[in-house]
């Protein structure tokens, strides 16, 4: 099967100034990542701030071009952002961000905003009834469609954004922290909605979040990012049942849960380093509880440690796979 979206060794650097008088220096936000999203599959991307997960999301949508590597959609290279080919492709790739209020125009009723992509892409037909159908598919009424964004709750606004993203019947949906700003009870509504819509439409989805519990809920496969690289990738069930990479193990153990603790808590020392001051060797080694001398000098490459399971750690080989629980 041809993958819907494929990223091969993509890298992206930004030039930042560390302060008012400092010298400009490039920061590699994404540092050589390869990922694949198939139709009907949700790829979860987990990482802390500075891991490069949002940059990766923007490259997946072609909003940014990688400095190195390639992004292909349907086996065709991603056109340059802003080009005519890219605009045509955009109806097949949509996105949902964290802040729905920022993504909506305060002055327009939400139904008008939902059908806006149809106007932009010149899709004819009964736009209004298409808009009403989109509203209904996200559980909103026609009356709510006539309202302005500020007259809706946060969860309802995020539904509007989802309806707008789906009205062009895209094949790929990239969600960057779509439920992080929502309360638990509302978050569950939106998560369920995304799961249902994805299943109904066979969407390929990239779901970016810092919240492991939500990613677990929604994803088929999960990639864990640390400082611009993927440190572990596996089927969600495998990854959360038996996390292998020391960083993933710490993340999983740190997720608070009202139930009994399933893994012993690993509390990492230190903080994620500044991407501008990337440690030598394995970027995780200064915080890693099991780092060896080799980890300080040599960066591990992602390696297959079990079928469908890759990890970038010198201590992990197929034989050394850590048992579940």
């Amino acid at each position: 099967m041809t993958p819907l979206l494929q990223l091969r060794d993509v890298a992206r650097s930004y030039v930042t100034r560390n302060n008012l008088f400092g010298q400009a220096r490039p920061v590699r936000a994404v540092d050589g990542i390869s990922l694949t999203v198939n139709a009907g599959e949700t790829l979860g991307i987990v990482g802390e701030s500075g891991s490069g997960k949002s940059t990766l999301g923007r490259m997946a949508l072609g909003l940014e071009l990688p400095d190195e590597g390639t992004v292909t959609f349907d086996d065709a290279p991603m056109p340059a952002p802003g080009s005519a080919a890219w605009r045509t492709l955009r109806r097949q790739m949509q996105m949902v961000f964290q802040d729905p209020l920022g993504a909506l125009d305060r002055r327009l009723p939400v139904l008008e905003q939902i059908i806006e992509p149809l106007v932009i892409h010149g899709i004819d037909g009964d736009q209004r009834s298409a808009g009403l159908a989109a509203l209904a598919s996200v559980g909103l009424s026609a009356a709510q469609g006539a309202r302005h964004p500020h007259e809706l709750s946060g969860g309802q606004r995020q539904r509007v954004v989802i309806a707008r993203a789906l009205i062009t019947s895209p094949r790929l949906l990239v969600c960057d922290e779509p439920v992080s700003a929502l309360d638990v009870s509302i978050q569950a509504q939106v998560v369920n909605l995304l799961i249902d819509l994805q299943a109904e439409r066979g969407l390929g989805m990239v779901f970016i979040s810092h919240d492991l519990r939500v990613v677990r809920q929604i994803s088929n496969r999960v990639a864990v990012m640390y400082l611009g690289r993927v440190v572990e990738e596996a089927a969600a069930d495998d990854l959360f049942r038996a996390p292998q990479h020391p960083y993933t193990r710490a993340l999983v153990s740190a997720a608070p849960s009202p139930g009994p603790r399933r893994v012993e808590r690993v509390i990492l020392t230190g903080e994620p380093p500044n991407p501008a001051a990337r440690p030598e060797g394995c970027a995780f080694h200064p915080r890693c509880p099991v780092a060896t001398a080799r980890c300080r000098t040599e960066a591990p490459a992602p390696a297959r440690i079990a079928p469908g399971h890759t990890a970038a750690c010198h201590l992990l080989t197929p034989a050394a796979k850590v048992a579940a629980r």
Partner: protein, 335 residues
């Protein structure tokens, strides 16, 4: 039973006529960790800001808040200032904006030491450094001359904690202390709070929207909804066998790492404080609501030792697993 350290009775808070807290009764005992859980607008933060008299003047506050038996809502301002930062410390959600950007860390910690501990000069320098060491700040001595923007969110929260501990409080209120932080840093900060509480024998009120955080860090939990406490009890039993439909709903809506069973969302949204529903505020979203729920706002009553519940249908059996709970239809009705 021990006398409570802080006791809140019949607390009501309103902003421009819109109620934010509607009759809260709550007690914190010396040395205990009390969790306060609720979604945005539930009044969990406002309750404690009101208790410390930190709300702006337009807020109307009624009720009684006593510390060691004496009412602090009616204290002269001078005496209240001795309690704030002295007997009761507080840390906030976003540490980077809660610290003054133009003052050094040393200056911000020293203020508390001078005010509540009467220290000066070299005594302050030594104690400020000791506090930063205590909260696990790397290079404490060098950090004293730093400014908030030079540090990460996690380090700023450590400074906030050091500042709150500087007055040697009997109670520390932590208002969403880890919400703005990364997962691995969140674990560090929560661990630090636990360790400090044990060592100093201090009581902790942990305000959070995250049930997982509260469950793991508190002895006792109170769940708030729309300005009222709807259920309280020991953390372990409350999360195992919630009695209030809202508490049950919150637990079922929270995804876990263990399974991917469909989440059970609570339909609808939190009511508008200016337009509260008749009877129980949760009634319109409650799968178990009956006619009696429309009559009155149910009072918080003891239903078992250590457990209190505010539900007109308090004999409900909610213990079943998620899938048996009603309202699990895919497209929830919104609004």
């Amino acid at each position: 039973m021990k006398t409570p350290l802080v006791k809140i009775e019949g607390l009501n808070v309103a902003f421009d006529g819109a109620p934010a807290v509607r009759g809260v009764d709550l007690a914190v005992h010396p040395g205990e960790a009390l969790g306060l859980v609720g979604e945005s607008g539930s009044g969990k933060s406002v309750t404690w800001l009101a208790a410390l008299r930190l709300l702006p003047g337009k807020a109307s506050v009624q009720g009684r808040v006593s510390l060691d038996g004496s009412d602090i809502l009616s204290l002269p301002v001078r005496e209240m200032e001795r309690i704030r930062g002295g007997r009761i410390g507080i840390i906030f959600q976003d540490p980077s904006s809660a610290l003054n950007p133009v003052l050094s860390i040393r200056r911000q910690i020293s203020e508390v030491l001078a005010l509540h501990r009467g220290m000066s000069g070299s005594e302050i320098r030594a104690e400020a450094k000791r506090l930063l060491d205590l909260v696990g700040m790397p290079d404490a001595k060098g950090r004293l001359d730093s400014y908030p923007h030079e540090m990460s969110g996690g380090q700023n929260q450590r400074v906030m904690i050091a500042m709150a501990l500087a007055g040697q409080p009997d109670l520390l209120i932590a208002d969403e202390p880890t919400t703005a932080l990364d997962v691995t840093i969140q674990a560090q900060i929560l661990d630090l709070l636990q360790q400090i509480r044990r060592e100093m024998g201090m009581a902790l009120v942990l305000i959070s929207h995250d049930l997982g955080v509260v469950a793991e860090n508190c002895d006792r939990v109170a769940v708030m909804y729309a300005g009222r406490i709807v259920e309280s009890g020991p953390a372990a039993t409350l999360f195992d066998t919630p009695r209030h439909p809202y508490a049950r709903g919150l637990i079922d809506a929270l995804p876990t790492l263990d399974d991917t069973q469909r989440l059970v969302a609570i339909p609808g949204v939190v009511p508008d404080p200016r337009d509260m529903p008749r009877g129980c505020a949760f009634g319109p979203r409650c799968a178990y609501a009956g006619p009696e729920c429309l009559l009155d706002s149910p009072p918080l009553r003891a239903v078992a030792p250590g457990r209190r519940l505010a539900c007109a249908r308090h004999n409900l059996d909610l213990a079943g697993p998620k899938s048996t709970t009603p309202n699990s239809t895919p497209a929830e009705v919104v609004s």
